[in-house]
C-alpha cells in the first residue's frame, strides 16, 4: 500500500510539472510610457504588463534610437518632418501635431481602392525604390513625378527596415546586442528607410526594435525594426512592444487616410523566429502565439476609443507552415482575412502573412483574388505580399 502511495505522489508531481512546463501567459496593457517614448511626436505605446519583461525591454531599447515620423507633403517641397527624436535619429522635431487635421478632409475625389503590401526588406538589401515602381506604380524620383502619376494609393508595411544615424546612442555597458545584419545590396547602397521616405515624399512611421549590432570603427550606428511607408497621411501612431521572447520586437501601428474614404488601421509586425531551448521546452513552443496574441490585445485596447475601424495587419510571422497556431488565432481575431497560403515567401516557407478585419456597414472588402505573393525578392531574402482593399460606393 505504501509503495502505491509513493508512486501516485510522484506521478501527481510529474503531471503538475508537465502542466507547468507547457503553460504560457499573456498580459498586455496600453498605452504606457516607454524608454523611447516621444511625447512630441504623439506616439502611443503599448507593452507587456510584466515588470520583469519591461526591464529587459528597456535594456534592448537603450541601445536603439527613437522612432521617426515623416509626413508626406502635399506640395512638391518634399516631406514634412513632424516627429522624430530629441536624440536626432531622424529629422528634427517641429512640435506639430500629427493627429487628424483638416488637410485630410479636403474636398477630394474618393478613391476606389487602397493597396496594402507587406515586405521584409532584410535590413535595407531589398530594393524598395524598384518595388515601389514595379508593384505599386509609385515612381520615386521627384515629387512632381510622384504627383503627376495616376496611381492607386498604397500602404507598405515594412519589416527589417533600418536607419543609420550618428544620433543613435552609445551602447550602454552590459547590454546584449544582436548580430549586425548588413550584407551588400545587389542594387548598390542599402536603403535607409528614413532616406527613402524623404526622397520619395512618403509618409513614414519607423520604430526601431533593436540596434543593428555593434559597429566597427568608422561605421555609422544603425538600428532596425518595423515601419509603415505610405502615399497617404498617417495618424494615431502607436508602437507596440510585443511580449519579450528572444528579441525585442516593436510593431508599428497607424491609421491611414485614403482620400475621401474612412480611415484604415494598418500595422506592421515581425515575430521571433524561435525562443531558446529552455523557453521552447517550458512553454510548449508558445513564442509566436504569445507575441501574436499580445499584438491583437494591444490593438483592441488602442482602438477601443476609436470605435470601429477596418484593420489590415501584415508582417513576417516567421512561420514554417500556413497552419501554425498563431496564424489560426490571428485569422480568428481578424475574420475577414484572406485564406493563408502555403506559397513560400522566404524560400519555400510561408513566413509572411496579412490579416484583415472589417465591420458591418464598413463598405470595405478585400478585392477578389487580390491577395498574392509578389513574384520577386527585389534583393531581399523575402518576397512581399499584397492585397487590395476595395471601397464600395455608398
Amino acid at each position: 500500500m505504501r509503495e502505491r502511495k509513493h508512486i501516485l505522489t510522484l506521478l501527481a508531481l510529474a503531471v503538475a510539472l508537465s502542466g507547468c512546463a507547457a503553460g504560457h501567459e499573456m498580459d498586455v496593457r496600453a498605452p504606457v510610457g516607454a524608454c523611447a517614448s516621444t511625447p512630441e511626436a504623439q506616439v502611443a505605446w503599448a507593452r507587456p504588463e510584466s515588470e520583469g519583461e519591461q526591464s529587459k525591454l528597456d535594456d534592448w531599447c537603450s541601445a536603439a534610437g527613437e522612432p521617426v515620423v515623416l509626413h508626406a507633403s502635399t506640395t512638391e517641397a518634399g516631406p514634412e518632418a513632424v516627429g522624430g527624436t530629441s536624440r536626432g535619429g531622424g529629422p528634427a522635431l517641429t512640435g506639430e501635431s500629427i493627429l487628424f487635421d483638416a488637410r485630410f478632409e479636403a474636398d477630394v475625389a474618393p478613391v476606389d481602392s487602397l493597396v496594402v503590401a507587406t515586405w521584409n526588406v532584410e535590413v535595407g538589401t531589398g530594393d524598395l525604390v524598384r518595388l515601389l515602381a514595379d508593384r505599386l506604380g509609385y515612381v520615386c524620383s521627384t515629387a512632381s513625378e510622384n504627383h503627376a502619376a495616376s496611381r492607386v494609393p498604397f500602404v507598405l508595411l515594412v519589416q527589417e527596415a533600418y536607419r543609420a544615424s550618428h544620433d543613435i546612442p552609445e551602447i550602454p555597458d552590459g547590454v546584449a546586442l544582436p548580430s549586425r545584419i548588413g550584407k551588400p545590396a545587389e542594387h548598390g547602397e542599402r536603403a535607409d528607410i528614413v532616406e527613402i521616405a524623404a526622397a520619395c515624399n512618403l509618409s513614414l512611421f519607423y520604430a526601431p526594435s533593436m540596434r543593428n549590432g555593434a559597429e566597427d570603427d568608422g561605421q555609422t550606428p544603425e538600428d532596425r525594426g518595423n515601419a509603415i511607408l505610405a502615399s497617404v497621411p498617417l495618424t494615431d501612431l502607436a508602437a507596440i512592444e510585443l511580449p519579450l521572447e528572444t528579441q525585442r520586437r516593436v510593431a508599428v501601428a497607424a491609421i491611414a487616410h485614403p482620400p475621401g474614404r474612412d480611415p484604415i488601421r494598418v500595422v506592421s509586425f515581425h515575430l521571433d523566429v524561435a525562443a531558446n531551448l529552455l523557453r521552447v521546452l517550458t512553454t510548449g513552443n508558445s513564442t509566436r502565439l504569445r507575441q501574436g496574441l499580445g499584438l491583437a490585445n494591444a490593438l483592441d485596447e488602442l482602438d477601443a476609443a476609436n470605435g470601429q475601424l477596418v484593420s489590415v495587419i501584415g508582417g513576417d510571422v516567421n512561420s514554417w507552415s500556413e497552419k501554425e497556431t498563431v496564424i489560426r488565432h490571428l485569422s480568428e481575431q481578424f475574420p475577414d482575412s484572406p485564406e493563408p497560403t502555403s506559397e513560400g515567401t522566404r524560400g519555400s516557407y510561408p513566413t509572411d502573412h496579412m490579416f484583415v478585419r472589417t465591420f458591418e456597414g464598413s463598405n470595405v472588402s478585400v478585392a477578389d483574388n487580390s491577395y498574392r505573393v509578389i513574384p520577386e525578392t527585389y534583393g531581399s531574402d523575402h518576397r512581399g505580399k499584397l492585397l487590395t482593399l476595395r471601397f464600395e460606393s455608398d
Binding site: S18, T246, T282, G284, N285
Partner: protein, 221 residues
C-alpha cells in the same frame, strides 16, 4: 510563464530526476540485484515519469504548432507520456531494481551528453544561457533513461521523415524534423512499456522455469 519561473521548473525537474535516480540506486543497494523493492518501484516511477513527460513534450512540439490549441496540445502529450513512463518504471522497479539502476546511470550519462552538446553549440547561437544547458541535460537524460526504444524510434522517424521530405514536394524539412522527434518520443515512451512487459514476462518465466519436483521418499530398512 516568465524566465525565472521557467528556470524554477527546470530546477524542479532536475531535483525530481536526481531524487528518482537516488531512489533507484537505493533500491539497488537494499535488495538483491535481481529483485524489486518498494524503493526501486518508487524510483522507477519517478524516472519513468520524468522521462515520459519530457519525451511527450518533445515529440508533440512541432505537430502541436500546426493546431489551433498549440501549447495547450503539448500539455496532454506531456502528461500522457509521464503517466505511461511512470507506470512502466514502477512496474520495472517492482520486479528488478537493477534495471532501474541501469536506467538511472544511462540517464546521468545522457544528461551529461545533452548538457555538453548545448555548451558546445554556444558560439553558434544568437541567444544562449545556462538554462539552455540545463534544458539540454534534461532532454538528454530523459532520452537516455528510456533505453534503446528512443534510439530505434529516432532512427525510424528519421528514415521516414527524410524519405518523405525528399520524395513528396509538399513535405518540408520541419515536417521531417517533426516525424523524427515524434519517432524519438514514441520509441522512448514505448520503451518504458516494452521493458515493463519484458520484466513481467521474465518474472513469470523465472517462476515457471523452476525444475519440476517429483515427490518421492527413500525407504531404508
Amino acid at each position: 510563464m516568465n524566465f525565472s519561473r521557467a528556470a524554477g521548473s527546470i530546477a524542479a525537474i532536475w531535483l525530481f530526476a536526481l531524487s528518482c535516480g537516488s531512489a533507484g540506486l537505493r533500491g539497488q543497494e537494499t535488495t538483491d540485484s535481481t529483485d524489486g523493492s518498494t524503493w526501486a518501484a518508487v524510483g522507477g516511477a519517478a524516472l519513468g515519469a520524468y522521462s515520459g513527460t519530457v519525451l511527450g513534450a518533445l515529440g508533440s512540439l512541432i505537430p502541436c504548432t500546426r493546431t489551433y490549441e498549440g501549447p495547450a496540445c503539448v500539455r496532454p502529450a506531456a502528461i500522457g507520456g509521464g503517466i505511461i513512463g511512470g507506470l512502466g518504471g514502477a512496474t520495472i522497479g517492482a520486479i528488478d531494481a537493477s534495471l532501474i539502476g541501469n536506467s538511472f546511470v544511462a540517464g546521468v550519462i545522457g544528461a551529461s551528453v545533452g548538457g555538453a552538446a548545448l555548451l558546445a553549440v554556444q558560439p553558434f547561437l544568437e541567444r544562449w544561457s545556462w538554462g539552455d544547458v540545463g534544458a539540454g541535460a534534461v532532454i538528454g537524460g530523459a532520452v537516455a533513461a528510456s533505453g534503446p526504444g528512443a534510439a530505434i524510434g529516432f532512427g525510424a522517424g528519421a528514415i521516414v521523415g527524410v524519405a518523405t521530405w525528399q520524395l513528396i514536394p509538399s513535405v518540408k524539412l520541419p515536417d521531417a524534423l517533426a516525424v523524427t522527434l515524434f519517432g524519438l518520443a514514441a520509441g522512448g515512451i514505448g520503451g518504458w512499456v516494452w521493458r515493463a512487459i519484458d520484466a513481467k514476462e521474465n518474472e513469470r518465466g523465472s517462476a515457471g522455469a523452476q525444475p519440476a519436483v517429483l515427490g518421492f521418499s527413500i525407504r531404508t530398512n
